[in-house]
Amino acid sequence: MWQSVLIRRALPLTLSWLLLIAAGISLDYILHPAGLAWIGRHLGVAGTAFVAASFGYSARKKKIVQKGTVRFFLRLHCNAGWIGTLMIVVHSGIHFNALLPWMATLFMMTVTASGHVGQYLVRKLREEVKMKKKEHGIDNNPDEDPEGQYYWDSVTMKALEKWRTIHMPIVSVLLGLTLLHILSVIFFLNWR
């Protein structure tokens, strides 16, 4: 039972998402009594920067960025996204006023959850590809047989297409909400 993908992969990813929420709430409870609530305000900028950095993965896949492995950028995407999300959860705090920023926060949590699902799918599919290769006696070394490896990679990618049809639109909505939130802050803020 402990070897099933559900336990080995799904459980840690679920815990990772829940930990995000718990950490965000805990940090909020620490900052307020310490009189450091102003840090939360600035974490919005820092969090957005981290999330923006996570888009390096998309840039790499579209070959806008040419250096570095896709694997590295995928890890950057996951880690920077998690850290950025945490910062923005602290930035949001436990206040319920304007609807726009709260929709952005909810969509961000949804995107992060979707990202965790994506991670689960990638790992699950990799395991399945490994098993299928073993079944068919295929033992290709990616360096020696790049074409063969490319085939297995595209099998994985196709399987993830369905997941992407959900992940990408909610990312787009999140981007729209975030951009509007940032613009409204710039429009109304007392800069002096």
């Binding site: 639109p169 787009s172 909400l177």
Partner: protein, 326 residues
């Protein structure tokens, strides 16, 4: 649908909603009572990309009327502190205390209040605004100076207090403020003098204590019980500490037995052997030792023609025989 189209569509819809319903989508909190009208017209107070300027506040809230009458001209209950405070303020400083959307509580203001916004005259009269913040304690009851003599405008603590602020008569009454600092020990219970007799105003320790402050007839042991070494000499001795020790330091002790009688090899006995009366070291007897029986001593002295031999020490300063032993 391509993500880009989703993004653009979302942006257009949300922008339209934000313009139509700004209080629902954008407002960071309810406005103060009386500001209901600007609720759907953010630009009543907010200048695009310029924030809410204090100049807009004073359009309705004239600084000279604050605390006196409201925006429609109705007189308010008297509040001198508020009147004086706002009168002395620079016109563009409303935002330093009042952040609408977060209520009237100045502590929630986005901007920090700057004392520089006040006129010099008002800045030097801390008490005008901070009257309610004066702690109820003897220190603040006696301190006559301005708050700024001890406190900065950034925060109350740490404060830099100087005893020189007090009048000479108050300075002698240390206990008025320092009652809680007084240790509950025998020494402090016995000493009735002012703290200043032993302590400086910079710190409590080191203190300059003099035994002369103590009333006469005091037993050393009443304060120095913990100082008494737990050894044979001190356990056997029932005398006052002063019999052997001075008041400046314990060591060296002022008592020197050799002045009276040298305790040589035969005489290294316990104090009680010679000083039989407890605590009394002025009286002694040499007869407790088997060497010196009254009959023997009497015989030996009479043989020499000595008939007064009750004070052995007068002639014998050590175990050697002879007058004023060599």
């Amino acid at each position: 649908m391509k993500p880009l189209y989703v993004f653009i569509l979302c942006l257009v819809i949300l922008s339209a909603l934000a313009i139509a319903l700004p209080d629902l989508l954008l407002s960071p909190g309810p406005l103060l009572k009386g500001h209901e009208k600007p609720e759907t017209s953010c630009l009543s107070c907010h200048k695009p990309f310029g924030g809410a300027a204090s100049a807009r506040c004073i359009t309705c809230h004239k600084p000279e009327d604050i605390g006196i009458r409201n925006t429609v001209g109705i007189l308010l209950p008297k509040d001198t502190g508020r009147v004086v405070f706002h009168k002395g303020l620079a016109g563009n400083s409303c935002m330093e205390c009042h952040t609408d959307h977060k209520g009237a509580d100045a502590s929630k203001a986005f901007k920090t209040f700057r004392h520089a916004s006040l006129t010099t005259a008002l800045r030097n009269k801390c008490i005008t605004c901070h009257k309610d913040q004066i702690p109820e304690n003897p220190l603040h009851r006696h301190a006559k100076g301005n708050c700024s003599e001890c406190h900065t405008t950034k925060k109350w603590k740490p404060a830099t207090f100087d005893h020189k602020q007090f009048a000479a008569s108050i300075k002698k009454e240390c206990i008025t403020c320092h009652k809680a600092d007084r240790p509950n020990d025998t020494l402090h219970r016995e000493v009735t003098a002012s703290c200043a007799v032993c302590h400086g105003t910079t710190k409590w320790k080191p203190a300059t204590f003099s035994h002369k402050q103590l009333a006469g007839g005091k037993q050393c042991i009443s304060c120095h019980k913990a100082d008494q070494p737990n050894d044979n000499l001190h356990r056997q001795s029932g005398a006052s500490c002063a019999a052997c020790h001075g008041t400046n330091r314990w060591k060296p002790s002022t008592f020197n037995h050799d002045r009276y009688f040298r305790l040589d090899g035969d005489h290294r006995a316990s104090c009680r052997t010679c000083h039989t009366a407890p605590g009394d070291y002025k009286t002694y007897t040499c007869y407790n030792c088997h060497e010196h029986s009254p009959a023997n001593i009497a015989a030996e002295h009479r043989e020499e023609g000595i008939y007064r031999y009750d004070n052995c020490m007068k002639c014998h300063r050590s175990g050697k025989s002879g007058r004023h032993d060599d």
